[in-house]
Amino acid sequence: MEPGPIAIFFAAIFTSNILLVNFLGMCSFLSISRELKASVGLGLAVTFVLTTTSLIAYLLNQYVLVPLEMEHLRYIVFIVVIAAFVQLVEIVIERISPVLYVNLGIFLPLITVNCAILGSLLFLVIREYDLWQSLAFGAGSGLGWMLAIVALAGIRQRMKYSKVPAALEGPGIALIITGLMSLAFVGFSGMIPIQ
């Protein structure tokens, strides 16, 4: 039986977490996870971009690309959509929270090249989701990415005073923690299987 939008939503957060299961969107995940506040901000931005672009990607794919037999232009169209929405998020964040805007720095415009976004959009096309499934998958993937980065930021903040071997400080230990978190998330798999 095909899973419904609610199942897909929770699956995208837990069992098929875009970051901890598919390992997409790692660079900003490692760089912005030093501070909880900034990681929440970036997580929200990624969630917003993923949700809106999933909806638009679905509509464009279903009503423009497929009827006109232009599926081969999917990459370029999706990338243009993502780029535009990231610009929009930049304008909004700069307006409502200048501190977050400066904290996110270069990683805010870099959401454009965050493979998690393009990966998710391509997943929903490959898996042939309908409108509600696409929206649920987009929002779920974004929240799943946010959950992962916020969890890592929480752990890294607590680890500030831990003694980490010099060679593993920074991204090294963050990658090891990510691996452990990923193992923990494997425990969820099988609960709601999606492709």
Binding site: L73, A84, L88, P98, V99, N103
Partner: protein
């Protein structure tokens, strides 16, 4: 085939255009901060109406209020500090490293980082109102040593520049063969502060330096020159203490200007000028220093060579400037010092002065960073 290609290009272009329109709308409505009012020093006549959205430093510069900034607004020099009393928003992480705890408490901010999003109430030191942009002509360009030139600038617009001895100006090197954009560099004024129509800069050649190469190899007498200023607070303090001037290379510039001031104002304080150089080729203004010694009864010029050659036939002080200073007989604890030159020389000399008991707050310096 061609129709299908045209449709595909058309569709992608249409999607792109739609998205561009969406961003344009967001820019027009969300990123529109409207007209904002900047109240300066609570004086109505000094208030400015500016278009919101830009940085405070730029908004002030557009209104001919120049806050000193060595990095040109990139947030890396920490010089463009102003007090933002209202409307500046929270302190940004890019400003934090440049502000002390006291400055933070007093609402000091970096004007290149604060954005004008709403009405602002700010405080600017009075002397900054005097900073202007000047245009002039290159007058005399005189070789002072093998690598130092004195550049006289005859001001044309405005025709006079009122500065205090010790201050500096920012000279603009225009676009030329070695630089594809105008850049500005700071140089101390070395001329007499009473001569407001011609200002002189002592410029030492920096290998491959954009501005110095322009001055040394491209600038001709009569060429147009632009600058802004005066900047800086490296000035003679109004006390009666003994003075120790210490300089190396073109660090002599602000001190020469201070000596003019002492002569003009008949400041008869005990003063010694330690000037560090490697060989006699690096010495300049010897005649003039001798004249200052004649005009100022308590002034003494002590040039010191660290690497004198045989042909120099040098009979004056020898060694590093720190050693010569160390051997000098002064009441260090009662005197005050004015240092100008490279950061290495200044730091080394400050150490010597502190060991001789000179309090830190009486050591004034201008580092060529």
């Amino acid at each position: 085939m061609i129709t299908s290609l045209a449709i595909q290009v058309g569709v992608v272009a249409a999607i792109g255009a739609l998205l561009a329109a969406l961003i344009e709308l967001a820019d027009r409505f969300i990123a529109n901060y409207g007209e904002c009012r900047i109240t300066i020093n609570d004086e109505e006549e000094r208030s400015l109406n500016v278009q919101g959205g830009g940085h405070l430093l730029g908004a002030l510069a557009e209104n001919k209020l120049f806050i000193p900034s060595a990095c040109g607004g990139r947030g890396s020099c920490g010089l463009c500090k102003v007090k933002v009393l209202e409307g500046g928003g929270p302190l940004l992480p890019t400003e934090a490293p440049y502000l002390s705890a006291t400055e933070r408490k007093n609402n000091v901010r970096l004007s290149c980082q604060v954005k004008v999003r709403n009405n602002l109430r700010i405080e600017i030191p009075q002397e900054l109102f005097a900073i202007k942009r000047y245009a002039g002509r290159a007058g005399k360009i005189i070789d002072q040593t093998h690598d130092m030139k004195q550049l006289d600038i005859e001001l044309t617009e405005p025709e006079t520049l009122d500065f205090k001895a010790g201050q500096y100006v920012q000279l603009t090197a225009p676009e030329y063969a070695k630089s594809d954009q105008p850049i500005y560099r700071a140089y101390s004024i070395c001329s007499d502060p009473t001569d407001e129509s011609t200002i002189s800069l002592l410029i030492r050649r920096v290998p491959d330096g954009i501005c110095t190469t322009w001055v040394f190899d491209y600038l001709k007498v009569g060429d147009q020159v632009e600058l802004n200023g005066p900047h800086g607070e490296f000035c003679l303090q109004p006390t009666a203490r003994e003075i120790l001037f210490i300089a190396g290379g073109s660090g002599l510039a602000p001190i020469r200007s201070m000596l003019f001031q002492m002569r003009n104002e008949k400041i008869d304080r005990k003063a010694t000028f330690y000037f560090g150089a490697q060989t006699s080729d690096d010495l300049c203004y010897l005649e003039q220093m001798a004249q200052f010694e004649r005009d100022l009864p308590q002034f003494k010029f002590v040039p010191a060579l660290s690497m004198p050659r045989d042909e120099d036939r040098w009979e004056g002080a020898q060694g590093l400037i720190t050693d010569v200073l160390d051997a000098g007989e002064h009441e260090f604890a009662q005197a005050e010092a004015y240092l100008c030159g490279s950061p290495g020389m200044i730091d080394a000399c400050i150490k010597v002065l502190l060991t001789h008991g000179m309090p830190q707050e009486r050591i004034f310096y201008d580092k060529f960073a």
